[in-house]
Subunit: 204 residues, 2 copies
DNA sequence: TCCGATCTATGACGGACGGTCTAGTTGCTT
DNA sequence: AAGCAACTAGACCGTCCGTCATAGATCGGA
């Protein structure tokens, strides 16, 4: 029997900390956010950080990536369950991101992408986490593509292109303070899906 | 008469500083690189930084973005002058980036994208610089597309999709330590170009 | 040829903040 | 009421970026 999970939880500081980390990291990047900001934003006391996350800032970032990965993954799974046509699905996913960006005045980016770009060999654990998050989302896209009747290898290629187009559109959108890049990305992805589904694939 | 430009240049510290800034920022981001690292990498003394760049770190970052923007822009212009077919051009550009990433063990990213993602309202001057750099490259892509016979609006949409696909592929490539995302992005872009050039456009 | 004047270059310094840790307090359980 | 897990406060030292007084280099004028 697991009695550990019955341990009384006296505060929800850990939850608040993760939520603040997701929010701040995806707006300013890993190095752009100090633990002091994390603590202030979450309302958690200073000492709690290393109790809940003995690994310090890096462990918080890992938790934040996992949280974001799971949440976005759930939304994608829910959308896929609707069985939408390619055009509807692609527009839906891209529009959701466009809305996310414009609603936050182009402050909210993707925590996975920015940490992937910041972290080279500096923090292998973080990079591994970004890899896992990207793969999770790609798996979702590939599953949607297979449901449309796309061949396995084509579906994987499409999934990579779709994820890349989204992440790139986020970067462009932030720089230009405009949601237009998402529309252009959607157009490209719909053309790719049409090509792959037309028959022999885009190169034939 | 401009006599200022005739002032003797006793050291090339400024050049070294910009070169080091481009190299380090694109690997670790703006906040991931300290002034001390810039100085050590360039061999310049501390005081020289604030002589050449009174605006400090932010001004160096602006200079670094401009440098990168110009260098990449020149390469793109040179490639465009070759008058390559869409497939060749797209593969060429994407392969160049793939090579850049893999040759550096996936350390070298795009200084424009990472700074665009890191900087929200924190540094408007930097964000404006990223916007300008992205627009310059988009203009290049659009010019190439027009040369293939693409209509004006289609060319602009294609250019945005191409830049976004590249920047996204860089993020994925770093996370996965693989150049595969560039190949998938290239496939998508070739499909888009084919669609746009086929006649009435991808939505007709 | 010498001499200020002006431009260029430098590294030691400081206030602030970075992430981390240890020593201590709280409150549940028995 | 004792023991232990859950939690917290404050201070730690290193690094952060930017400033400063001063040293070196170059030039125009006498």
């Amino acid at each position: 029997m697991e009695i550990l999970q019955a341990m009384p939880k006296r505060t929800d500081a850990k939850e608040h900390l993760i939520a603040a980390a997701v929010r701040l990291f995806r707006a300013h990047g890993y190095d752009g956010v100090g633990v002091a900001q994390l603590l202030e934003a979450s309302g958690a006391p200073r000492g709690s950080l290393y109790f809940h996350f003995p690994g310090g800032k890096e462990e918080i970032a890992i938790a934040a990536i996992r949280r974001a990965s799971a949440r976005v993954g759930e939304r994608l799974a829910a959308r896929r369950a609707r069985g939408e046509a390619p055009e509807v699905y692609i527009d839906g996913v891209l529009n959701a991101w466009a809305e996310e960006l414009s609603a936050s005045d182009y402050a909210n980016g993707c925590i996975v992408a920015i940490i992937a770009l910041e972290m080279g060999e500096r923090a292998p654990a973080l990079r591994e986490e970004t890899r896992a998050a990207f793969m999770k989302w790609e798996t979702e896209f590939a599953a949607a593509a297979r449901a449309w009747g796309m061949r396995e290898t084509d579906a994987e290629s499409f999934a990579s292109a779709m994820l890349g187009a989204i992440e790139g559109a986020i970067a462009l959108s932030r720089a230009k303070q405009s949601a237009a890049p998402f529309a252009h990305a959607a157009t490209a992805l719909k053309a790719l899906a049409r090509d792959y589904l037309a028959g022999s694939g885009p190169s034939g």
